[in-house]
């Protein structure tokens, strides 16, 4: 239960706030999806880590 009784302004803005929240969630999903596709699709190779560099240096 809420400590503060929601005012009329809160009620009026609930729809807008929910929609903005959903839009932001969709944006996050979009960036995540783009990252997965771009990394999976292209000739992307991870840069060599410190261990590999040491081995190659020997």
């Amino acid at each position: 239960m809420s400590l503060v009784k929601p005012s009329a302004v809160h009620k009026r803005r609930a729809g807008l706030n929910t929609s903005v929240g959903l839009a932001l969630a969709a944006f996050i999903a979009l960036v995540f999806g783009l990252t997965v596709v771009k990394v999976g699709n292209m000739d992307f190779t991870m840069p060599p880590g410190p261990e590999q560099e040491v081995q190659n240096g020997d």
Partner: protein, 310 residues
């Protein structure tokens, strides 16, 4: 410029739908559809998710330019019957909010289109937004009766952007799709101006109906429709055309030419008597016209990819 003083009295808070309305969703649907056709008609395949993102960012870019247009044109929108219920003149959204939203979404859409596809497509989207907002809205719309002709280019770019998103280049096919929308725009809007006649007069927008008269506008509609028909049917003999496209183009252009001929033969008394029946019919047909041509291009592209008629 916009007079914001009239927009500061609010009856209630803006809802999410009011901000969506700033993006001109109906115009956006045309942008989405033509960009989609440009993307799928392109010979290079694109990952479905990247294709979805490309269409989404093109749509957002188109919406952003709509918001900037509403910010700049709030004063004339408040005068015209067709636009006086838009969020800014209706007092639901402040002009400064529309400006902020338009600028933010413009930057967002261009950068993300570049990251998702390529920078040729992103550059083309940036140019489209610039062309629509600065060249058309701020300059030509209130300066010349040819506003619709030149400004129509902004609405014609989406299939080129879709094509560029898939291929990374321009080509004659994408320029033909651009030209189809470009040549279609003047008769479409002039028909609207004929039956929404007092709107543009009241707002002092120099539409052809206001500067050159209604008789001249009717002749212009016919001339542009003849040029459009030649272009649309000629496109049928290029690589994006085919039997289905050609059949669609011949039927629709015959109907469109008939509609334009009907309009040019009419005078104002005849229009008053039947409440601009022929002009309204021509306007509705123009919507079907563009949709059908792009659908036919889409079908031809699909048939090519599946090897039918190959």
């Amino acid at each position: 410029m916009t007079d914001t003083s009239a927009t500061n009295s609010f009856e209630g808070d803006a809802q999410f739908s009011d901000y969506v309305a700033l993006l001109k969703p109906r115009v956006m649907s045309l942008v989405v559809f033509t960009a989609f056709v440009g993307l799928l008609a392109a010979p290079s395949p694109i990952h479905p998710f990247l294709g979805f993102c490309a269409i989404l960012f093109i749509a957002i870019g188109g919406g952003a330019s709509g918001a900037l247009n509403m910010w700049w044109d709030a004063d004339i929108d408040a005068v015209m019957r067709r636009t006086k219920k838009r969020p800014i003149p209706a007092g639901k959204v402040m002009a400064s909010e529309a400006l902020a939203l338009g600028l933010a979404l413009s930057g967002f859409s261009v950068i993300f289109l570049g990251l998702a596809t390529n920078w040729i497509a992103a550059g083309l989207l940036a140019f489209t937004i610039f062309f629509y907002v600065v060249i058309y809205t701020m300059w030509l719309k209130r300066a010349t009766p040819q506003n619709i002709v030149i400004g129509g280019a902004a609405g014609a770019f989406p299939p080129m952007i879709g094509w560029a998103a898939a291929t990374g280049t321009f080509s004659i096919e994408s320029i033909l799709m651009f030209s189809l929308t470009f040549m279609w725009t003047p008769p479409h809007f002039w028909a609207l101006a004929l039956f929404m006649r007092s709107d543009y007069d009241d707002a002092n927008v120099p539409m052809l109906t206001v500067t050159h008269g209604r008789r001249s506008t009717r002749k212009h509609i016919l001339v542009y429709t003849i040029l459009l028909a030649a272009l649309a049917i000629g496109t049928g003999f290029t690589s994006i055309g085919g039997y289905i496209y050609l059949a669609t183009a011949i039927v629709l252009n015959a109907l469109f030419l008939k509609g334009a001929w009907d309009i040019v033969r009419r005078n104002e008394e005849m229009c008053e008597a039947d409440d601009f029946k022929a002009e309204r019919r021509f306007f509705k047909l123009s919507l079907i016209y563009l949709f059908a041509h792009f659908t036919a291009i889409l079908i031809e592209a699909g048939l090519d990819k599946f090897g039918v008629f190959a």
